[in-house]
């Protein structure tokens, strides 16, 4: 789950700069004239100096590749015509601008739509199961009982193990001929399940592994949310004769809303782009049945020869566009429900 943590750090950093800029920058000052701006700069130069490195670093590591990716998606760049250095020999770039041809090609290919349907199913499946399991576990852990700390540790463990290690462990468990899961089933008299050899089972398997990896994060976040709900509310509800389900529905769920909306958005974006689980567990297989958009983009760029950089950039830009549309719609629907977010 290295991806999770690093992304959240980047995001936190991004938000941090935004807030600093908004709160202390000149945008809050009403002065519109040149003089006012200068004055504002003079007053807040320190704030600007502080955020400059962050802006610069973000620009270099995110902004530039992004701009370059968008540009490449409008060209016919591939391995044969990009600039490269071979020892002392320099080969100049010869690719050309082709406009929206790549987009037309990708969107006109049924492969894109097949991948999109499965990617959406995969995302919705993973996020909803992860959320329900995370919420259940968090609710269970949110009470006093013996050995609570030990349970928490055990449940957070999957998060501590590097993602690729867990995925390989699962791959060994899932192995049809020699895997432990099938050995166990065999012991129970059940025929072996072709976990990664059958398209449907492979889909179930990748979702199961991703849920296993994602539950700890969900649980910890929701546990934090649960603990911020005042106990008095539950006491009062109990006095009024509300049953456990009523308390859960009318106190816990609304109380968790802010936290759960955020974690659902985050985990949707992560799951949508969850490259390692699919790539390492099934390589998109059997056949191409578990291929999601990002693994397909990787295939376009790194498996075909010559490597098609333009095509892959096109897939990347489309994925980004889809996620941005999703985030916008999500935010709007939250705002309609009265959440300030």
């Amino acid at each position: 789950m290295a991806a999770h943590t690093s992304q959240s750090v980047a995001k936190a950093a991004g938000e941090g700069t935004g807030n600093t800029g908004a709160a202390r920058g000149p945008s809050r000052t009403t002065a519109r004239s040149d003089r006012g701006l200068k004055q504002a700069l003079a007053t807040h130069w320190y704030a600007w100096a502080m955020i400059a490195p962050v802006v610069l670093v973000l620009g270099v590591i995110i902004g530039w590749p992004l701009v370059r990716g968008i540009y490449l998606s409008l060209t016919d760049a591939n391995e044969r015509n990009v600039a490269r250095t071979i020892g002392v020999r320099q080969i100049e770039a010869t690719y050309e601008f082709v406009g929206l041809d790549n987009y037309a090609a990708v969107l006109g290919d049924p492969v894109f739509w097949q991948r999109l349907v499965w990617t959406v199913l995969w995302t919705v499946g993973c996020v909803s199961i992860t959320f329900v399991l995370g919420l259940t576990l968090a609710t269970m852990l949110n009470r006093q009982f013996r050995g609570r700390a030990a349970y928490r540790m055990a449940l957070i463990l999957p998060w501590a193990v590097p993602g690729f290690v867990s995925v390989f462990a699962w791959r060994f468990l899932f192995n049809r001929d020699n895997g432990i899961l099938n050995k166990l089933l065999d012991g129970g008299g059940i025929a072996a399940i072709p976990w990664l050899d059958d398209p449907t089972w492979a889909k179930v398997s990748v979702i199961a592994v991703n849920v296993w990896l994602g539950v700890p994060f969900m649980m910890v976040a929701l546990l934090g949310g649960l603990q911020s709900i005042p106990a008095e509310l539950y006491e009062a509800a109990e006095m009024d004769g509300a049953g456990p389900w009523q308390r859960f529905r009318h106190i816990t769920l609304p109380g968790l809303r802010a936290v759960s909306m955020t974690v659902i958005l985050l985990s949707t974006i992560w799951t949508f782009n969850m490259f390692p689980v699919i790539f390492l567990l099934t390589r998109g297989g059997p056949g191409d049945s578990t291929e999601i958009l990002v693994t397909q983009a990787f295939r376009e760029a790194f498996i075909a020869s010559p490597r098609d950089f333009a095509g892959s950039a096109t897939w990347g830009v489309l994925i980004l566009a889809l996620l941005m549309i999703f985030a916008l719609v999500y935010r709007r629907s939250l705002r309609k429900q009265g959440e300030v977010w």
Partner: protein, 424 residues
């Protein structure tokens, strides 16, 4: 594509880290011929499998005995990800190896991208005179020689002599005989007749050649995988599974196939000489004579297996080309080839090596040499390697029954034409 060599763990870790870790560094700026003596470091990326690598490392490092000032840096790169890893290293220029062991299908690709240094004229002449002609052909691109063949191979039918004898059957010569033999084996021991690797399209080639077809026809620039013979080939592969003669898989094919064959769970498999050393390590083959090899079963047209093998090539950007070429020459010398034949049952590429007693006495070489002579030479085009990826998707779908043979053949044709722009 051809063999998912190593433990899956390593394979995909490297894939994931491919861009991040170059793997090794090279001493910069050491010029090579100081007074005619070679010096510097030669980094070699070897793709041989777990059973072979120790032997190759020893051979490579022994180069120092001949050229004391040259240091050989041996790096084993799992075959499955080597093509990608090599490309990453070659195109970025830094941390690239000096010498690579390239599958015969990759040479034209790398050469067409300008990554390979031409073989010195003198060596090129020797290759034409002293090497098997079909092996020599694999190192050439547009009339120039870019790689020296190290080993040559093809696929054959590996069988467990005892299991076949117990069931009272002969090694099958055709797919029909294979089905009968498998039924007898299952009746006798309850085990599977054939373990067919389902996650690698190289294993599909005997089927398409067996029906008289081919993936492409490079002369007329035509994609042929989806013609009638191609469809029949997908059908033949699928039929082995539905008839119960064979079992297959869609993941971890190499490991599962070797495990099943070595432990006697499957009586037969289709594999190449590179699997011999590993097979001998299994319980069933403690007595080496229990391992038999026959030609791949014939389809309706003939018995055909692909010509494969590995070539050694020097990176065009190497700072140490003189030492690198000398290293390649050493690694492909007769002496070394004979040693690999003896230790690992790998087939030499030099014609004269087959006269050596050690090679002559090897049972595997005795079988595989005539097979290699008859093996189907592939089209040595740059796209050769990349055709296997879409083919793998369709082959897996066909053998596991998620697509009909007709659909699989058709889809493979569509993908091939995307890669081979302008082909019929």
């Amino acid at each position: 594509m051809r063999r998912g060599i190593a433990a899956t763990a390593l394979v995909a870790t490297l894939a994931l880290a491919a861009t991040a870790c170059g793997g090794d560094t090279k001493d910069d700026g050491q010029e090579t011929k100081a007074g005619g003596e070679l010096s510097g470091t030669v980094t070699w990326w070897d793709t041989s499998n777990d059973a072979e690598k120790a032997s190759f490392q020893k051979i490579a490092e022994a180069f120092t005995a001949k050229h004391p000032k040259v240091t050989v840096k041996y790096v084993n790169v799992p075959y499955g990800d080597a093509q990608n890893k090599v490309k990453n290293a070659f195109s970025s220029g830094s941390e690239a190896p000096d010498v690579i062991r390239a599958d015969v299908g990759w040479v034209a690709d790398f050469a067409s991208l300008g990554y390979l240094d031409e073989v010195p004229a003198e060596t090129a002449k020797k290759i034409d005179a002293e090497f098997l002609p079909q092996a020599a052909a694999s190192g050439k691109f547009e009339g120039k020689t870019y790689a020296v063949p190290q080993v040559i191979d093809t696929l054959g039918l590996f069988y467990n002599k005892k299991m076949l004898a117990d069931a009272g059957v002969q090694p099958p010569k055709t797919l029909e005989e294979l089905k009968t033999a498998a039924a007898a084996i299952k009746a006798k021991s309850g085990k599977t007749g054939l373990y067919l690797r389902g996650d690698d399209s190289y294993w599909f080639l005997p089927f398409i050649y067996g029906e008289g077809g081919d993936l492409v026809d490079a002369k007329t620039k035509t994609v042929t995988v989806d013609n009638a013979a191609g469809v029949k080939a997908f059908k033949a592969a699928r039929d082995l599974i539905t008839s119960g003669a064979a079992t297959t898989n869609a993941t971890d094919g190499w490991t599962n196939m070797q495990t099943a064959f070595k432990s006697g769970e499957a009586a037969m498999m289709i594999n190449g000489p590179w699997a011999v050393a590993d097979s001998y390590a299994g319980d069933q083959f403690k007595d080496k004579s229990n391992l038999g090899v026959a030609a791949v079963p014939a389809g309706s047209a003939k018995a055909g297996a692909p010509q494969g093998g590995h070539d050694l090539a020097v990176y065009a950007g190497s700072k140490n080309t003189a030492a690198a070429h000398a290293f390649v020459e050493y690694m492909t010398s007769q002496e070394i080839q004979v040693q690999s034949a003896k230790d690992l049952s790998l087939l030499p590429t030099r014609t004269a090596a087959y006269e050596q007693p050690d090679v002559k006495s090897s049972e595997m070489v005795q079988f595989f040499k005539p097979a290699v002579d008859k093996a189907v030479e592939r089209a040595w085009i740059p796209e050769n390697g990349s055709l296997f990826e879409p083919l793998k998707v369709e082959y897996t779908k066909a053998v596991t029954g998620t697509a009909t043979p007709e659909d699989a053949a058709k889809a493979a044709g569509v993908e091939f034409r995307k890669i081979l722009k302008g082909w019929k």
